[in-house]
Amino acid sequence: MLRKDLGLLVLILVVGAVVALINPRFLSPINLANTANLIGLFGIFSLGEGLVIITGGIDLSIGSVFALLGVIFVDLLVTYELPWPLAVLIILVAGPVVGLINGFLITRMRLQPFVVTLCGLLLYRGIARYYTNDGTAGFAFGQSFPTLEWLTTGRTYGVPHTFIAFVLIALAMGVLLHRSVFGRYLFAVGRNEEAARYSGIQTGRVVAAAYVMCGALAGLSSIFLTMYTRSISPASHGNFYELYGIAAAVLGGCSLRGGEGSIVGIVLGTILLQILQNLVNLLGIPSSLNFAVMGGVILIGVLADQQLNAYRERKIAARASAAPKPGVDTS
């Protein structure tokens, strides 16, 4: 665990302790389970967003993907009455396809990630709204899918399945990112794409793979989100969710320049964001201030991190100049 992650963990514990002191309901089983559920829901796609950010890119289309895949999912179940495993499978395929399109446009057509995914954000939401005539897509009265509901919204020993899924995915992603060949390639491409290419890495494929994985996790998330809300108004469903993902990744130490970040960091970032949301509710802060609290905390966190780094570097520089080594190699 890096020093940065440790700092974030301490921040989470401090904020949690303060909230618990002011309002003991924070630690009640119901509140904890609810928060864990939200952490799972938001965490899964934040991991994907983090991958993309490590390549030096960004994915702004995630929230709109939730709306589009959500209405399609509901439609497959309600209108076409497909068996739910098939519907789930279709959505789980559609997610990576969206990612593949992004990856293709970015690596082959050499468009900028921001532009490509901004267009995705507008396109997918527009299509979703047109698809439902701007109406709300929901399950028919009395329609129920016990197994699917248990899988997505159920609990085991009081732990929400979304949270369990999040933990499992985070573990797998942690191994992939920090131990596997692909993870090393991903960081190499994010840090210096040209040097990676000169080392024989197919940088385009690595970047595209990050978008595909981000799309896959977005597809999975859209199923969880749909089952959580049970009805979808495509004009608002998933609005700004990509920003939650970006915020979690940035809080967790991902640099938007690429090449930096960790799964532990993204997980902690997600947890902090959800605790902040929870704090707004529990402390009786007007919920209209929700975003303002998040923005403020992220800003202060990033600023403090920046200042600490600068301080540390100054100290190292001071130590180095205090003890100059004779015969330093210079050219």
Binding site: V175, R179, S180, F182, R191, E194, A195, V328, D329, S331
Partner: protein, 506 residues
């Protein structure tokens, strides 16, 4: 000697652990052209940076027109009439000539609105360009100019400042022979107009032609001054290196073997009309000389698969090489040590181990997961073999010296099994000690049966290290020299496109 316009008295400059300049004194008279020579690292740049106000001397006095300047800043230096013409051009591609000449001192109009008066700047740039005999207009975009023309823009900028002392740092390094002649004429014109010029170059014949006096630096100290009548090629070299020019050359041990890499009619995107043919042999170091922009790096990049070839083919060990991506070249043991190691050769934020294992990461992986201990083992082995000086293999590459960084780039490939090594400026920005180590490594590679192509703009290196020299001019191979034909003069002639008896058709 008339009253000097510029005097540097006992200038010393120390950095932690290094003395870059020791007790250097230099005086320049009005209208005098002083040639400043010295090897890389002799202290020329440091001296000129002090003069330009970029760095402050640790000790010593600067006098301009008899006035002592204690805290010379860049703007103060400009006010005193000192202008720099840099080796690396500092121009804005996206602006036109006039805007570049007046950058930072734009002519303004409309009083408080402070709008840029383009017309006035164009009008004031025109006579400057005429004086320099430039064949372009003040409103020509810089992006459309050749390197030589850009050099003229830099000089026009210096003139527009009313400079009385112009410092030219390697102004001809990328110019053709005709352009160089024109530049030397301009130096003579400046001199006639009473402007002093400090001319820094490695090309001694240019100094012979234009300098009134030559000052030689070695290891941060002035080691000699030659008056006009004494300026001779050999004397300058003796002063610079402090000895007779000794050959760096070590002949191949094993002898030259068969062709490994054969390029047939390869055409690069930079010079689509030139088909390049050459071959590299086992155990042989082939130097690839030529001016900057002659298409050497593009050729190497194309063979390595970074750029797509427009036509032609490359065979390695008799079999055709697919040229789609560097992976194809790497799979056949064709490796490139790129020109800009910081940009293309290394991931500076990563440590030595990460950099060395990157091209061959799968080999260090079990079930797709990287085995750190095996990686470090290999890195330690390469580190020892190449004598990489660092605290450990976990040192971040960005903190290493240029020479050690280059060794890390080399180690990446040596950990695999090279057939052909393409070096692009292997010793650029590397100190003398590390240089000879790199030459030793290159020779050892050749002796181990690798074919080596070494692109280099350093004449001493090309002549001193190669077994055979190919020279490129504007995208084609303008000539090939065997060891007994080597001379600086021959290489230069071919590099500027003058034919010799060994010219090959394009």
């Amino acid at each position: 000697m008339p009253e000097p316009i510029l005097e540097l008295i006992s200038i010393s400059k120390s950095y932690p652990g290094v003395r870059a300049l020791r007790d250097v004194s230099l005086a320049v008279a009005p209208g005098e052209v002083v040639g400043l020579i010295g090897e890389n690292g002799a202290g020329k740049s440091t001296l000129m940076n002090i003069l330009g106000g970029v760095t402050a001397p640790s000790l010593g006095v600067i006098r301009i027109r008899g006035q002592q300047k204690d805290n010379l800043t860049v703007s103060e230096a400009i006010r005193c009439g000192i202008a720099f013409v840099h080796q690396e051009l500092n121009l804005f591609d996206n602006l036109d000539v006039a805007a570049n000449v007046f950058f930072g001192r734009e002519q303004l109009s409309f009083g408080p609105f402070r709008l840029v008066d383009t017309a006035a700047m164009v009008a004031r740039t025109k006579p400057l360009l005429e004086r320099l005999g430039a064949d372009f207009e003040p409103d020509t975009p810089v992006a459309a100019l050749s390197l030589a023309q850009r050099q003229l823009v830099e000089i026009a900028k210096a003139l527009s400042l009313g400079a009385e002392i112009v410092i030219m740092d390697e102004p001809t390094s990328s110019l053709t022979l005709t352009e160089t002649n024109r530049l030397l004429e301009i130096v003579a014109e400046l001199k006639a107009a009473g402007v002093s010029v400090i001319f820094i170059t490695h090309r001694l014949n240019e100094i012979e032609r234009c300098a009134d006096r030559v000052v030689a630096l070695r290891d941060g100290a002035v080691v000699g001054t030659l008056q006009r009548a004494e300026i001779e090629h050999d004397r300058m070299i003796r002063l610079m290196i402090g000895r007779e020019l000794k050959s760096l050359y070590t002949p191949p041990q094993a002898g030259v073997g068969e062709d490994i890499l054969v390029s047939k009619d390869i055409r690069t995107t930079t010079y689509p009309d030139c088909a390049v043919n050459f071959s590299l042999r086992r155990g042989e170091i082939v130097g690839l000389a030529g001016l900057v922009g002659s298409g050497r790096s593009e050729l190497a990049r194309t063979i390595f698969g970074i750029d797509r070839p427009l036509g032609g083919s490359v065979t390695v060990e008799g079999r055709q090489l697919d040229i789609h991506s560097p992976r194809d070249a790497i799979a056949r043991g064709v490796y490139l040590i790129p020109e800009d190691r910081k940009r293309s050769g290394l991931i500076l934020e990563d440590d030595i181990t990460d950099n060395i294992s990157l091209p061959n990461l799968r080999k260090f992986a079990v079930a797709y997961l990287v085995d750190r201990s095996r990686e470090e083992e290999a890195a330690r082995q390469q580190s020892g073999r190449l004598n990489i000086r660092a605290a450990s293999v976990s040192s971040v590459v960005g903190t290493l010296s240029g020479g050690n960084q280059q060794k890390v780039v080399l180690a990446k490939w040596l950990a695999m099994s090279p057939n052909v090594m393409l070096f692009d400026e292997p010793t650029r920005g590397i100190d003398v000690g590390a240089k000879s180590e790199i030459y030793g490594l290159i020779r050892a590679l050749a002796d181990a049966g690798v074919a080596v192509l070494m692109i280099s703009s350093d004449m001493e290196e090309v002549i001193g290290v190669s077994d055979r020299i190919l020279v490129m001019h504007e995208g084609r191979i303008s000539g090939e020299l065997e060891r007994d034909q080597f001379s600086e003069h021959q290489v230069m002639l071919l590099a500027v496109g003058k034919s010799t008896n060994s010219e090959l058709p394009c």
